[in-house]
Structure formats: C-alpha cells, structure tokens
C-alpha cells in the first residue's frame, strides 16, 4: 500500500456529508457566502510563512450548514488533526476516505458502525469505495472495493476489516465475516 502524502477524509453525520478535511495547514471554509477577502501579506517581503489566519493543522470545507457550529466547536477544542478525528468520532460523526477526483459522495447509503467488544473500531457502508485507517490512507484507487467503503478507526481492527473486505462478495457477507472476526456491526 502506498500512503498518501496528505490524509484526506470525508466526515459524515449519519449518511450526510458534513465536512471534508485535509491533514495540512489551510483554511476553514463555510457553506455560507464568501468570507472577507485577501487577508493581506504574511509579513515583510520575502517572508515565506503561511497567510494570516491559516489554521495550523487542518484545511477543511464544510458541507452541511446545520453541522458547522458543532464541527467548529470540536475543532477549537482539538490540539492536532488526529485529536480532531478522535473528537469527531466521539461526537457521533463517521469518517470515510475521500477521493475528490471521483467527486464527493454527498450522501452514503446507511452504514454500520463496527465494535470490537465495547470499543468503536470502524465503520462500513454498502457502496463501492476505499478502505482506510485513520493514520494510514491508501493513495489513489488502492484498496478500493466494490462491496463496501470501510474505515478502521482502531489499528487493531484494520487487518480483520481488510481481510473481510477482500474475501466478501456482498455487504451481508462482509458483515458475517466481520462478526466472525469479532467485529460486530451495530
């Protein structure tokens, strides 16, 4: 597997896309009309620093007005990209690999959260898509499966989830294989 240079995830509330995030300093963009324009230079000529107002660890585009306030609140409480992802999961959002060159999936078919015992371990959706973990994301179309889109939220679940994906011909079969691997769908 080739890791992406910059991780790029789509965040869902239920089946609805609410945010697209990149693990890179950038801007926070709302669905509301344009924010104030050119923020001016970063300093004196020759400065190569980021533009004024650049977020230190994330570039993000919101996609659901009703969720924006909560998403920003969680971001403000976060200390890093990974901390933000963890807070999003705790708040009930789900995370899928984003392949923007294929167009955003604004709605996913109803998915299932996966639990390893009582711990949230991942999620899967019955539509073609990419397998990813939160820390390592495949490049391009690597690890794309017809049977499901899937994310391992815990590294301990990654191998089991990937093996079940590779062996399954249908979404129901995937859930059966995951259950046999002690990953129960809620």
């Amino acid at each position: 597997m080739t890791d992406r240079a910059v991780r790029h995830f789509a965040i869902y509330a239920g089946d609805r896309l609410v945010l697209v995030v990149r693990d890179n300093p950038g801007t926070l963009r709302s669905t509301a009309g344009p924010a104030p324009g050119d923020p001016g230079p970063p300093g004196r000529p020759g400065t190569n620093g980021p533009p004024p107002g650049t977020h230190p660890f994330i570039d993000a585009q919101a996609h659901d007005p009703a969720a924006e306030s909560r998403l920003r609140e969680l971001l403000d409480a976060s200390s890093s990209f990974d901390d933000y992802l963890a807070r999003l999961l705790d708040a009930g959002f789900d995370i899928a690999s984003c392949r923007p060159e294929r167009g955003l999936e604004y709605e996913l078919p109803s998915g299932r959260r996966l639990y390893d015992g009582t711990e949230l371990a991942g999620a899967c959706w019955p539509t073609r898509g990419q397998f990813t973990t939160l820390l390592r994301q495949p490049a391009g179309d690597e690890l794309a499966f017809d049977v499901a889109t899937a994310t391992a939220y815990r590294d301990a679940a990654a191998t089991r989830l990937l093996e079940a994906l590779a062996a399954s011909g249908t979404f129901d079969e995937l859930l059966e294989r995951l259950a046999a691997a002690r990953l129960k769908a809620a």
């Binding site: 926070l28 009309g33 050119d38 000529p45 650049t54 294929r102 167009g103």
Partner: protein, 431 residues
C-alpha cells in the same frame, strides 16, 4: 450605471395570504415588542398571520380557486397562461404538491418545459414572509428549472426556497432556527469559519424535518440593502443574547443575484444526478489543473475571474511587496494555504457550479471579494471558457435563459431587465 427596469410587484401580483385572519388586537408591533423578534417569527409561521397590514387588497376577494381536475386540465393545456393559472392557487397548496409526485410527473409530461419550470418554481417557493418578492423570485427560479427531471427530483426531495425579509435574521424563521441551536444547544450558532449564522444573508441546503431549505433574501430580489438591525446580536426564544453583534453590510452589486446562486447550489445537490455531479467535478478539477503554476494562476478562466489577482493590492504594496514578489510568494504556497487569496468560484466544486450558473443566466455582475477582479458574465463567456459537456449540461438546465438584459460583454443594458435592481429613492425598510 444606467437605468434598469424591474418588475415592481403590484398588489394584484401578490399571492393571497395563507390565512388572512389577523390577531384580535391587530397590533403586530406591540406583539413583536412583547415577545421578541424570534418568537414573533415563529408566531407568524404557526398562525399563518403574515404582515397583512401592509398588503391590503385594493379589490374584492379573488376568484374561486380551481378544483384539482380544473387545475390539471388548465395546466396541461399549453395554450393557456401558466402564470394566471398558478396565480389562482394558494401558495400553501402549491407547496404541498410534492406530496403527490405522480400527479406532478403527469403534469410535467403534458406541460412545455417553460410552463413546467414556472409551476416547479411555484411549488418550491415560500414567499409567505415577503409576498412582494414573489413575482421576482418566480421569474428567477423558473429560469433555472427548464430540465423537467431535475426539477422533479427537487420537488420530490422536497426543496423549499424561503424568502427572508430584509429586516429579519434568517434564524428568526422556523426553518432556519436549527442553525442557532443544533446539537442540543451546544453549538454557538456559528458558521465553520466563525461567523454568526444569524448574520448570513442567503444560504442553501439546510435540512429541516424531511425537507431541504434554501434561504434567499428580500433585498436581493427587490433591491437595496438589508435593515441594519439584522446584524444585531441574535437572541434565543427568551430574548437572551446568544451571539455577537456583526458588522453592518449593505446590499449586493446591482445585477448580481444570490437568489440564482443559492438556487444553483440546490440544483447541484438535490437536482443533478450523481453522474452529472461527477461531470461538474471533472470540469472543476480540470480548471484547477489548468490554472496552476506561475503563468496560469492569473489566467482569466473562472466565472469570478483569475484565480489570483496578478497585481498586488495596496495593503501589500504599503508593506513593501511588489507584484513580482507577491506572485512568487503565492505560487510557492500550497493549494490549501493559497485559497484565501483565490476567487470564490475556484474554492470548491459547489461554488464553481453556483457561480458558473450565475454567469450563464447573466447574473454574475460585480467583483470578486478576494481578488477584487471583475466577475465574468453571460452564456457567451461560459461557452468560450467551458468544455462542451459542461455547456451542454447548462443548456439543458437553463435553456439559454438570461435573467438580466446584458450586452456582449456581460454588462447590464440600460433600461433592461435587472435582477437586484437599484433601490428606488425613498424606499426604506420593509416592502
């Protein structure tokens, strides 16, 4: 700037009220003062008591509304005036037609695209807060609904387009109150980039119940500026301040329609098929790729002009930057970091489509907020800068419609039709 004509609504144009029974006291101002703006907005919705006082009819009650068979027969007859037929149906009845999709589909099959576009716009429009804006809103929305299948998907979703009065915060209206209190009241009612939703004038794709709602604004339909009081700090049901006061801003440029912009967002999300959205995405990404690098970043290929302004603004030059040093700096930034300096239509695929739609219908006047460069406008411009597959899609959606009368350069013609016209002198406050 020349003079522009604008279809100023008449009393005859105004739809009949949903219910025209005012409260017993008829003292709406006193009620509003007593319970606060937000609760007053909810009251209006619940009781269907809109501002009847300023819209007293000059003539007796209108004709009997048509029965459903009469309505169906009249709408299916393409020789009859669809505006007159639709005008005989109460708006709240039109707004319920999404519940009978088979009947609407049957009508769609029988009606010409232009006539069905008008009916579709009337089904989606809620002008109950601003009856005076109804005629102009229908003119603009129907220009964008020429593709029956797209319109049907939006009707069935259902999509509702609500006109927000110029003197109300959108979050005072029931459909948009969730923006203040979503997430069990934990959210502070802010946009992701930190603004107050209460102060945003126009947005799309707000889910409420089973529907999707679009907020368009009175001042952009009838011209002029919003009432400064809409930028006051938002309050909750009990009148407690729950946000900060915002900076007062005026109206949008003459000829720029954020009505069509927001409707384009709704079309993109709720009307287009997944394959059509992928086509738009491909075109967006191709344009991003074609405007990367030192030379092409400044190419004028986007609906809102070049991706970045090649000339350093004064605030940069005041700090010693030149055009060359600034351009070198911008080229060296990552795509993510550079976005704050780039035009609005290049920010993401949603804004690209919305601004491209605006340009197509001739409503993309003014300058871009980030680059300060003029926006591009008109179908001719779109045809010259977009691939054929994108132009084909827009032609199917909008069928060469233009909501402004513009010349070959995309500029407004004097005395022509104009969305967002200059506000006539002396007209202030509510219409």
């Amino acid at each position: 700037m020349g003079e522009y004509t604008h279809a100023e609504p008449t009393v005859e144009d105004a739809p009949r009220r949903r219910v025209v029974t005012p409260p017993a006291t008829a003292d709406l101002t006193a009620v509003r003062s007593a319970i606060g703006n937000r609760a007053f907005g909810s009251l209006l919705r619940r009781q269907r008591v809109a501002r009847v006082a300023s819209h007293k009819p000059r003539r007796p009650a209108p004709r009997r509304p048509p029965s459903w068979p009469e309505l169906e027969a009249a709408l299916a007859d393409n020789t009859k005036d669809v505006k007159a037929i639709v005008g005989r149906v109460r708006e709240d009845q039109l707004n319920q037609m999404w519940k009978v999709p088979d009947w609407v589909r049957k009508l769609a099959a029988a009606m010409s695209p232009e006539r069905f576009a008008y009916l579709a716009a009337a089904i989606m429009l809620d002008s109950s807060h601003v009856p005076a804006g109804r005629k102009e809103a229908l003119r603009l929305l129907s220009a964008m609904l020429h593709d029956k299948e797209t319109a049907l998907r939006m009707i069935v979703r259902p999509v509702t387009v609500v006109i927000v009065p110029r003197d109300m915060q959108p979050t005072e209206l029931e459909e948009f109150q969730s923006l203040l209190t979503k997430d069990e009241g934990k959210g502070p009612g802010k946009t992701f980039d930190g603004r107050q939703w209460a102060h945003v004038r126009g947005f799309s794709d707000v889910t409420y119940g089973i529907g999707v709602y679009v907020a368009i604004i009175e001042e952009n339909l009838l011209g002029g500026a919003p009432d400064p009081k809409v930028f006051e700090a938002p309050t909750d049901d009990k009148g407690n301040v729950i946000g900060a006061k915002g900076a007062v801003v005026g109206g949008l440029p003459v000829g720029f329609s954020n009505t069509t912009h927001e409707m384009a967002h709704a079309i993109f999300r709720q009307g287009l098929t997944a394959e059509e959205r992928k086509l738009v995405t491909r075109c967006y990404q191709a344009k991003r790729a074609a405007t990367s690098g030192a030379g092409s970043l400044v190419a004028n290929l986007w609906p809102d002009g070049p991706r970045i302004n090649p000339v350093a603004p004064k605030r940069w030059k005041d700090k010693g930057w030149t055009d060359e040093t600034r351009l070198r700096y911008l080229v060296g930034l990552s795509d993510d970091a550079r976005r704050v300096y780039e035009n609005y239509s290049s920010q993401n695929v949603d804004e690209y489509f919305a601004q491209l739609a605006n340009a197509y219908v001739g409503a993309n006047l003014g300058i871009d907020g980030a680059t300060l460069e003029p926006r591009n406008n008109g179908r001719d411009w779109v045809a010259s800068k977009e691939p054929k597959e994108m132009l084909d899609l827009l032609d199917r959606l909008f069928n060469h419609a233009t909501v402004n009368d513009i010349d070959a350069n995309g500029e407004l013609k004097a005395r022509g039709r104009c969305a967002n016209p200059p506000r006539p002198p002396g007209k202030r406050g509510r219409t």
